[in-house]
């Protein structure tokens, strides 16, 4: 199962992954049109302290606490990817409290949002990986499930 991994050693804290994430999920064709004059709410976020930084997004855990905790069945895991059914989400935010990585956040439309490896948008492959200038985020097979 290919997953998004983060090489903290090469993360520059440039935040470009956040913008590529927001753009990929905006449905717009042009990044400037999609993101100008708005405050983005990406599904991948840079955590930074001093000179250390890295990008955090959903790990698609082997035993996902968010899925277990979801009271409406909005979160489910299929083919190794945890996805959200926004029609079922009632914004109780239990998953946000459960996630040990802080990878789930409220979305702008009420429901929660999380990284779905860009399978639901037109790109099809993780855009944070494609947009990282220094190979700090990779999408690769490392064997086994987390």
């Amino acid at each position: 199962m290919k997953r998004v991994y983060v090489n903290e050693e090469w993360c520059l804290g440039c935040h470009l992954c956040e913008y590529h994430c927001a753009f990929a999920n905006s449905g717009e064709k042009d990044m400037a049109r999609a993101l100008r004059n708005i405050k983005i709410n990406p599904k991948i976020k840079i955590e930074q302290s001093g000179s250390i930084s890295f990008a955090v997004s959903c790990r698609h855990c082997k035993e996902p606490l968010c899925v277990k905790g979801c009271i409406t069945g909005a979160l489910s895991k299929k083919d190794g990817i945890i996805t959200i059914d926004k029609n079922k989400c009632i914004s109780c935010y239990t998953c946000i409290l459960c996630c040990p990585y802080g990878a789930i956040s409220p979305s702008d439309d009420g429901a929660i949002q999380k990284c779905e490896l860009c399978i639901k948008n037109s790109e099809g492959t993780p855009q944070c990986v494609k947009g990282c200038p220094n190979g700090a985020i990779v999408f690769e097979e490392r064997g086994g499930e987390i």
Binding site: W10, G13, H15, E18, F23, M31, A32, L35, R36, N134
Partner: protein
């Protein structure tokens, strides 16, 4: 200073219709040219801080930025250019020597651009390198002048140590200190993958890189920084640096601010101290003295490694090369006046030395005339910009070329010529950890491998076009060259005919 005489050279142009205020420009500029105004949610910039390195331009996700040359002008004339005026203002303000980086940018002739290559038509067949074998491998070092046999007629191995390269290209000397750890790692790994050599420069060899020893030239220069027995024995060849094309006749100076941590350990000097390489080697005032160092180094490495002597291309280069060829050295490296540097006094960089094409042609001729060409191999550097330059250099008589600037460009360098500030935004000419990190060697080494693989393909194509299937047959084959826009004298020195002849 109350009056600022100098208007910024470059202007940062931002297309506000495209700017999404992601602030990547601000985060990535070590010169702090960009600033975010939170109240207005707007990016602004200070042109005076811009060095035109394109880091922000390349990383801007919406292509909202570009850098243009300022059209602000002094009242220039044909004699007093804006540049000359500005330099006077600068020195009147600072009282200091002007410093510059990278190679001589002035408007001197580039002879490679005035030389054209031949191709086969009708009377001799060209060769398709995709269908037929094509040899780009070269051997550097002294060649035996005759075959010796023992009393039973068997050939006696009288070869002196040679270096084998998969193509006639090596990475030229750039020290750890002047460039970053990650830049060195990229060069070392690329050299290993390509089957060529890179050069430590005068900064010693970081202990992590001893594993690339088979692909390393270890340099011994006038400061002798980082030189010890294991260092000498770790490489495939040893280079004595007598001079550098960008600054012939003067030494080097790595500021104390760059002598930190591992750089200080590798150079074997205290942290924070300026590393000053003297202009001459204080033990070499003659060819005889050079011979002593050549043999000291051979003795230290048990005569297993070829010794290179690197000189800058200067007026009497052929006579000097003749002396070096007799000194016991196996390889002569000549660095032309366009050769790069991390820092050099501007006046030296821009006014001293001669073009590599002329130096190469005259050295090759002189050594052949004296019958000592086989004593040494010739390596040339000083602005080899493409595979075509390499083919022309080989046809003029070089065994191999050194590339420095081209390699740095492959790693992301944008020739902003601000290496001396130590704030390289591309993670190359800096020791600042947050900046060094920007050059990921996993990406960097692949770009170097890509570049040279592409060049090797092109060299084969050009050789094939000339009907030559081995780089050895191209070496010194000046009949494959013709000049355009050159004088009789220039043609005579280059040893080539005019186009149409």
């Amino acid at each position: 200073m109350a009056v600022d005489y100098i208007y910024p050279d470059y202007e940062i142009i931002r297309d506000y219709d495209k700017c999404i205020t992601c602030r990547v420009c601000e985060r990535q500029c070590a010169n702090e040219a960009h600033e975010y105004l939170p109240q207005e949610n707007k990016m602004v910039c200070d042109n005076a801080k811009c060095v035109n390195c394109h880091r922000c331009v390349s990383l801007c996700p919406t292509r909202a930025l570009k850098i243009v040359k300022s059209d602000h002008t002094f009242k220039e004339n044909a004699n007093w250019s804006g540049k000359s005026i500005k330099e006077v203002y600068k020195q009147a303000g600072s009282g200091g020597v002007l410093l510059s980086s990278m190679g001589n940018p002035e408007n001197y002739p580039v002879y490679f651009d005035k030389i054209l290559l031949n191709a086969s038509q009708v009377t001799n067949p060209s060769i398709d390198p995709l269908r037929e074998p094509m040899e780009t491998r070269v051997f550097l070092g002294s060649k035996p002048t005759k075959i010796e046999r023992d009393d039973k007629g068997r050939i006696i191995d009288n070869l002196s140590p040679n270096i084998t390269l998969s193509m006639p290209i090596m990475f030229s000397a750039m020290s750890y200190g002047s460039i970053s750890y990650n830049a060195h790692e990229s060069l070392a790994r690329a050299a290993q993958e390509l089957g060529i050599l890179y050069n430590t420069g005068e900064g010693g060899l970081h202990e992590d890189f001893y594993q690339y020893g088979k692909n390393t030239i270890v340099q011994v220069a006038s400061g002798r920084f980082g030189v010890h027995k294991d260092y000498l024995n770790s490489g495939a060849a040893i280079e004595i640096k007598m001079g550098q094309g960008a600054k012939p006749g003067i030494g080097g100076h790595l500021p104390g601010t760059k002598i930190v941590g591992d750089v200080s350990k590798t150079r074997m000097i205290p942290e924070g101290f300026d590393a000053i390489s003297p202009a001459p080697h204080h033990d070499i005032y003659s060819i005889e003295d050079l011979r002593q160092l050549v043999f000291s180094l051979k003795e230290a490495t048990n005569y297993t490694k070829p010794v290179i002597v690197k000189i800058a291309a200067v007026h009497n280069v052929s006579a000097i090369a003749s002396g070096i060829a007799r000194s016991g050295a196996d390889i002569i490296a000549i660095d032309g006046f366009r050769g790069g540097t991390g820092a050099a006094p501007t006046r030296i960089r821009d006014n001293v030395g001669i073009p590599i094409e002329l130096a190469l042609a005259s050295v090759d001729k002189r050594l052949r005339d004296e019958g000592i060409r086989d004593n040494v191999s010739i390596v040339v550097g000083g602005s080899i910009r493409s595979s075509a330059d390499i083919v022309k250099a080989v046809a003029l008589g070089a065994d191999c070329v050194y590339i420095g600037t081209s390699a740095l460009l492959a790693l992301g360098c944008h020739l902003c010529r601000s290496c001396q500030t130590g704030k390289c935004n591309w993670g190359i000419a800096t020791q600042r950890e947050d900046l060094v990190k920007r050059l990921n060697p996993n990406i960097g080494y692949k770009r170097l491998v890509n570049l040279l693989t592409a060049w090797q393909h092109e060299i084969k194509e050009m050789m094939g076009g000339m009907g030559i299937n081995s780089i050895e047959s191209l070496k010194g084959n000046r009949l494959m060259l013709r000049g355009v826009g050159l004088t009789e004298k220039e043609l005579e020195i280059l040893g080539i005919k005019y186009a149409g002849e």
